[in-house]
């Protein structure tokens, strides 16, 4: 079996195993004992096997491409060394001879738009419309042979469900390095979370679970059977849905799994369904997502109407290759071709789509991403989703639900026009700022993490919007690791403190739970983006956030009008560091605030701490090597064509996107080369410096306020009570939506109810009354006329019979006389009256 066929099979196995686990658990779970861990072990086994399959697909793919993706391609001296140090990729070391070359080999060669490729030798990186490859022309390019071309993007069809005319509804796959990276990431994190949940959910392993948050009338608490197996069944379904979404080869399939992810999050957020807050939060999450999905549907319709296909990549249909969406819109060079307000579509036939409709399609799909990734203005569901058990929060916030939105935005990047990208950038920008400010005042440990997730998702969206495709997805992966780590750590704290979630009642916990505290610290440092100044030695978050801020800076330098797109993320980087360190100091440092909780606090068992340690290692080192490291290489390998080349203003919109070379300071805004020794600071270095400064400032401020406690933060809150209240009330978003939508809906519903009552009910009632009256008359008619006639006939027959009775005397001789007389009478009558 060739690896081209084996990789989809492996990934499909990784995808379907959790479904198998779900089916087994949901069928067998109700029959098994409530105190048995067996079903949970099935779930863990399925997802762990999925991880193994994903990893082997990764290895297969890597060896098939000669590990080209992991090679450093840049001006990085120690990239290869970093790469080989990387945990899961240590087997790639064979091949670093060919660092700089892998585009021309695989039949994908494009004309370098800037002809200077040959001009500046080895260190020059003129993007050439292909992936991101350096255009150096040394003789080794053949080393990564033509065979790798087929593994770049593997598309195909598992099963065709239906065909309506030319519309195919099919289960397809679209596998590139992004898919494989996502698979490994999702399955790895999900495995850790499943393991953690084994410990976290163990209080459900009982026949009689008491839910202390549900108060029944009479001052009692709710008693119910434990739901251990159900939790794990839902988790398995969740993983299945997310993996299906990642593997999907067409946008319709994405939509199906998109909804599956939504329903799983609904089930899990509402896991403690008896709690009013949990069921409300589940509904809120589901309904908020429906709002975004409405846009998604509109996008789907536009795509179907104008493109006639849902496929991402080129697939074979009836033996003929049919161009996918990306191919149609972007062609080979990754640029839109616009004529007279129409976008010329590549592929067979001379099809076009009006530019405005392409914008609408992009905005529609993005609306779906807004709902799923909790972006402004649909962000309010995510903090409420904290009602679910903590492992669910960890899964929702890192690997599955919210990642789906960013993943789709990244996957669908070739379909987005510059206007759509600008919208994405601003939505991300607003989101990241709003969420970060709320996180500063939140006191619930999980709420802080929830808002930080929203904020980080905003960063990802912003990155995608400003043309930093790679930066956004880079942050998606690194964030998944440290955010799942931090959620699990907070879960460990919550269990240790006996379900206390308010940080003002914690403090000093690091002495009691050191493993949790220090793995959490790794996550905090990672998300804050701290690094050793002057080097790039840092945890993962630094690299990805650096990439985002740098792209944003490049963007604002090219489009000075949109300076906020750099300023806001920069300030928020400081806020991020502040609120994350605030969380850590609040929880783990200083003196205990509540002695009772502190005394009863304990470190979690190994089943919970081992995933923490694993994840903290990944949170720290997954992005090792920064933008030249192996993870970055994996992602850049599937970067859509034309992204790293940037975009010049005026074609097709008045927005310029920075090219990768511009960000790294190799060319200036006009595309002219900058000499190495010009001493000019590249946007990347500049932005990195600023970001590091504000991050340190934020961290130090948090240390002063919450670590040393030089000022009581509550005092500051009192002084700024207006602002503080505004932030505590989450920018009044819930109130605003309540006024705008909930109450107005209720008013309209009241009108509708009154209309129903008065008009519809009145009409119906009068119709009914009329019918009753008509029926009454009809009854009278029946009773008098119809029945009367029938009775008359019956009565008269009866009367005649009664009168004839006397004739029948029983005397035989009399009958004979009657006969004789009758015959005589007949004769007489015959002779008298018969006509002659």
């Amino acid at each position: 079996m060739s690896s081209e066929a084996l990789i989809p099979a492996l990934l499909a196995a990784a995808w379907l195993l959790p479904l198998l686990g779900f089916v087994i658990q949901i069928l067998w779970g109700p029959k098994s004992s409530r105190t048995s861990r067996a079903s949970a072990l099935i779930a863990v086994g399925c997802i762990a096997a999925g991880f193994v399959f994903s990893l082997s697909a990764f290895v297969l793919w890597g060896s098939g491409t000669g590990w080209a993706a992991l090679e450093s391609h840049g001006h990085d001296e120690h990239g290869a060394a970093h790469a080989s140090a990387h945990g899961e990729a240590s087997h790639e070391a064979e091949d670093h001879g060919h660092s700089h070359d892998r585009d021309d080999a695989h039949g994908h060669s494009h004309d370098a738009p800037a002809g200077e490729a040959a001009a500046h030798g080895e260190e020059a990186h003129v993007a050439d419309g292909g992936h991101d490859a350096a255009g150096d022309e040394e003789g080794e390019s053949a080393a990564v042979d033509a065979g790798t071309g087929s593994l770049e993007v593997i598309t195909g069809n598992f099963y065709t469900l239906a065909r309506f005319g030319s519309l195919r509804i099919a289960i397809d796959y679209y596998i590139d390095s992004l898919t494989i990276t996502m698979f490994v990431m999702v399955t790895l994190i999900a495995t850790c979370i499943h393991l953690f949940a084994l410990g976290y959910m163990s209080d459900e392993l009982t026949e009689d679970h008491v839910d202390h948050s549900v108060h029944l009338p009479g001052g009692k608490h709710l008693h119910r059977p434990g739901r251990f197996y159900r939790f794990f069944a839902y988790m398995s379904l969740f993983c299945f849905s997310m993996l299906g979404l990642v593997l999907a080869g067409n946008i319709f399939q994405v939509f199906v799994f998109w909804e599956l992810v939504g329903i799983c999050s609904y089930l899990l957020i509402g896991f403690y369904i008896e709690r009013k807050s949990a069921s409300t939060a589940a509904n809120k999450a589901f309904i908020m997502n429906r709002v975004g999905d409405f846009g998604f549907l509109i996008g789907l319709m536009v795509i179907w109407t104008w493109f006639g296909t849902f496929e991402f990549g080129t697939v074979e249909v009836d033996g003929a290759a049919q161009a996918g969406l990306f191919e149609m819109v972007r062609g080979d060079d990754g640029q839109l071709t616009v004529e007279d307000g129409n976008v010329i579509l590549h592929g067979e036939g001379q099809r076009t789509i009006p530019y405005q409709l392409l914008v609408i399609a992009g905005l529609g799909i993005f609306a779906g991403c807004v709902g799923k990734s909790a972006q402004f203005p649909l962000q309010t569901w995510l903090p409420d989703a904290m009602e679910g058990p903590t492992p669910v929060s960890a899964l929702v916030h890192s690997a599955t639900m919210v990642a789906a939105g960013v993943y789709l935005a990244g996957r669908f990047y070739p379909m987005f026009t510059p206007e759509v990208l600008l919208t994405i950038a601003y939505v991300g920008c607003i989101t990241l700022f709003v969420a970060a400010t709320i996180a500063i005042v939140a006191t619930d440990i999980k709420k802080v993490l929830a808002y930080s997730t929203i904020s980080q998702l905003g960063y990802m969206m912003l990155a995608i919007g400003v043309g930093g495709w790679f930066a956004g997805l880079f942050h998606l992966i690194t964030h998944a690791f440290f955010k799942s780590l931090m959620f699990l750590a907070s879960g460990s704290v919550i269990v240790g403190c006996h379900h206390e979630q308010e940080m003002p009642r914690m403090g000093g916990l690091w002495r009691k739970m050191p493993i949790t505290a220090f793995s959490m610290l790794a996550g905090v440092i990672a998300i804050s983006g701290l690094a050793i100044p002057g080097t790039t030695i840092a945890f993962s978050g630094f690299h990805s956030k650096d990439a985002i801020v740098a792209t944003a800076l490049g963007y604002t330098q090219l489009n000075p009008l949109h300076f906020l797109l750099f300023l806001v993320p920069l300030v928020t980087a400081g806020l991020t560091a502040f609120y994350m360190f605030r969380l850590w100091f609040y929880t783990f440092a200083g003196k205990p605030r509540d002695q009772h909780i502190y005394d009863h606090c304990h470190e979690s068992p190994a089943v919970m701490t081992v995933p923490l340690i694993v994840l903290s290692l990944f949170a720290a080192f997954v992005a090792i090597g920064g933008e030249e490291g192996p993870l970055a290489g994996m992602l850049k390998f599937s970067e859509p064509a034309g992204v790293s080349a940037g975009l010049t203003a005026g074609e097709p919109a008045l927005i310029a996107l920075p090219s990768a070379d511009y960000i790294h300071g190799h060319v200036d805004a006009a595309g002219q080369l900058i000499p190495e020794d010009s001493g000019r600071m590249s946007p990347h270095a500049e932005a990195g410096l600023y970001a590091l400064l504000v991050a340190f400032a934020g961290a130090v401020l948090a240390w002063l306020l919450y670590g040393l406690r030089i000022v009581n933060p509550a005092e500051i809150g009192r002084h700024l009570s207006g602002l503080h209240g505004f932030l505590v009330e989450k920018w009044q978003f819930d109130t605003l939506y309540d006024v705008m939508f909930v109450r107005s809906t209720r008013v309209v519903a009241g009108w509708a109810a009154a209309f129903d009552r008065v008009v519809f009910d009145g009409f119906l009632h009068s119709v009914c009354r009329g019918t009753v009256n008509v029926s009454r008359w009809d009854r009278k008619f029946d009773e008098s006329i119809i029945d009367g006639l029938v009775n008359l006939v019956g009565d008269s027959v009866f009367t005649v019979g009664r009168s004839l009775r006397r004739v029948q005397t029983g005397h035989l001789r009399q009958y004979v006389m009657f006969i004789a007389v009758g015959v005589m009478a007949l004769f007489v009558l015959l002779f008298a009256f018969a006509p002659r």
């Binding site: 004839l804 009775r805 006397r806 004739v807 029948q808 005397t809 029983g810 005397h811 035989l812 001789r813 004979v816 006389m817 004789a820």
Partner: protein, 119 residues
Amino acid sequence: MIRLANDPQYRKVLPDMGTIGLEHFLMVGAVLFVAGVVCMATRRNAIGVLMGVELVLNGANINFVAFARYMPLGLDGQVISLFVIVLAAAEAAVALAIALSFYNSHLTVDVDRGDRLQG
């Protein structure tokens, strides 16, 4: 019937035998019939009633045979009268059985006593 015999249309099929013709046979049949009916209506004895029935049947038989002889009916009249004779025999057997049974229960064969079936 007299008119029928005098009808010139039938004159040629009637044998020119002077005195005895279809009318005479019909007269005998009518007399027998009336005698039978009167017997049935007047006799109280069940046996007598049966005898009356026989008279009526035979009166009818004479008519059949006479019409068969004087009218172009072929053998149909004779065949029907044979049927009637057979039927009469069967009827007599049943009727005598009824009479016997009636006697057993009532110790009489007076038909006026059997008025249970009155309305």
